[in-house]
């Protein structure tokens, strides 16, 4: 019943927006992506099976649209590195005790991960999906989810460490 989709979708929007911003690297791109995803979802509501997870279905649409967008602008498979070289978290030692990241720092770090790692990191570590749920949502074997997530987390951890060890005077802010 399509009504179920239009009933559930508004509740999901803040989380879907968070995911879209995480995938695309900025609020502006994320908002556009979310809008496109909502349009696609509504035009294809018959493809969603009521009773299954609408959030997973929407995450998948957002991911697909983002990959399409990368392909369209000829950056398939690349990371966002060229755009986000400015990933430099504050080097004031606050990372030593309790790690804190600003959103910009987090987006900068995510931008340095390949898309297939980024999506799993967002689903598991931001959206709180279990490995099994992430595997189901992305239609991947759970082993693939585990290995990609582990690589993503290692990279994220070392990016945070690099940021923390960088002298503060180089931060340029």
């Amino acid at each position: 019943m399509p009504d179920e989709l239009t009933e559930q979708l508004p509740d999901l929007l803040p989380r879907l927006r968070r995911f879209a911003i995480g995938m695309s690297g900025s609020r502006d791109a994320g908002d556009e992506l979310l809008q496109a995803a909502c349009e696609r979802a509504l035009s294809r509501q018959h493809q969603w099976t009521p009773g299954t997870r609408l959030d997973s279905w929407m995450y998948r649409i957002i991911q697909t649209l983002w990959i399409d967008e990368l392909r369209r602008i000829g950056r398939q498979g690349e990371t966002m590195e060229a755009e986000i070289l400015e990933y430099i978290p504050a080097g004031d030692g606050r990372h030593d005790a309790e790690t804190l990241l600003t959103l910009d720092e987090a987006l900068g770090a995510l931008g340095q991960l390949p898309e297939d790692q980024r999506v799993i990191l967002l689903l598991v570590s931001v959206e709180g999906y279990s490995y099994k749920e992430a595997a189901a949502a992305l239609e991947l074997p759970i082993g693939t989810v585990m290995s990609r997530l582990a690589r993503a987390r290692l990279r994220l951890t070392s990016l945070i460490d690099e940021g923390a060890s960088r002298p503060a005077q180089l931060r340029g802010s």
């Binding site: 239009t6 929007l13 803040p14 908002d31 990241l101 987090a106 598991v124 997530l149 987390r153 994220l156």
Partner: protein
């Protein structure tokens, strides 16, 4: 660096994804190896930090363009209107914030020495002009470190125009205050109620008692109780042009 537990297993361990037997094995390795412990803590901490960084997005309004997509769809079915979509999205936004941040503080109006406590005052000083001219969704600077973002305009049950807003302290830890201001008979904006949200609840800001049980939902409920009729973006533009008359 090489450990006796590989990174995949260790990541799964800190994520709570291992079965009991494997978890026990990792635990005993962690007990033996302080370097492995540090590594596990970093893997855990980086995920926590990532999650924390993204949480602020849940407090932001969903752009009107996105709501419009849903509204168009709803208008095809005669029973549902825009109000419903907007209210649901706002309710969802707050529900998620409440679910994802652990500490909330209520703004009990009254003198307070903390800079956070001074916000409602800062707001009143600034609101006369900024509430009149700032469209919902836009961010404006109140003073050196405070930013105001109106979230939604609506009419209450008495026909008053009200604006829900968020104020963020960009100087400190990014603490925020949510509130609702309504327009009074003499063309001024008066804060109806506000709540302070502190992202670092471990140290209570002076002058504020931890919110007592259940009241993180109170703000949300208060807003919902007040909203009679949300003002659509185009109506809001018109109101701004006509100085809210």
């Amino acid at each position: 660096m090489k450990h006796e537990i590989d990174d995949e297993t260790l990541t799964a361990y800190v994520d709570g994804e291992l079965d009991d037997a494997s978890a026990t094995e990792v635990k005993s390795a962690l007990l033996r190896d302080p370097e492995l412990r540090r590594h596990a803590e970093r893997l855990h901490g980086s995920a926590q930090a990532l999650r924390g960084a993204f949480d602020e997005l849940l407090a932001e309004p969903v752009p009107a363009e996105v709501l419009d997509v849903l509204e168009r769809e709803r208008s095809k079915s005669p029973v549902q209107g825009r109000k419903h979509v907007v209210q649901l999205a706002i309710a969802a936004s707050f529900a998620l914030v409440i679910g994802s941040l652990s500490g909330f503080w209520f703004a009990h109006t009254g003198p307070s020495s903390s800079s956070v406590g001074a916000w409602p005052g800062a707001l009143e000083a600034a609101s006369s002009g900024l509430f009149d001219t700032t469209p919902s969704g836009a961010l404006v600077q109140i003073d050196s470190g405070l930013e105001l973002q109106p979230v939604l305009s609506f009419r209450d049950r008495n026909g008053r125009i009200c604006r829900q807003y968020v104020i963020t302290d960009t100087r400190s830890s990014g603490a925020t205050a949510d509130g609702v201001a309504c327009r009074t008979g003499n063309d001024r904006w008066q804060v109806e109620f506000a709540r302070l949200r502190n992202p670092a609840p471990a140290s209570s800001p002076p002058g504020f008692a931890p919110a007592s049980g259940g009241d993180s939902g109170t703000f949300n409920a208060a807003v919902n109780a007040l909203v009679a009729d949300p003002v659509a973006p185009e109506q809001e533009r018109e109101l701004i042009r006509s100085n809210w008359r």
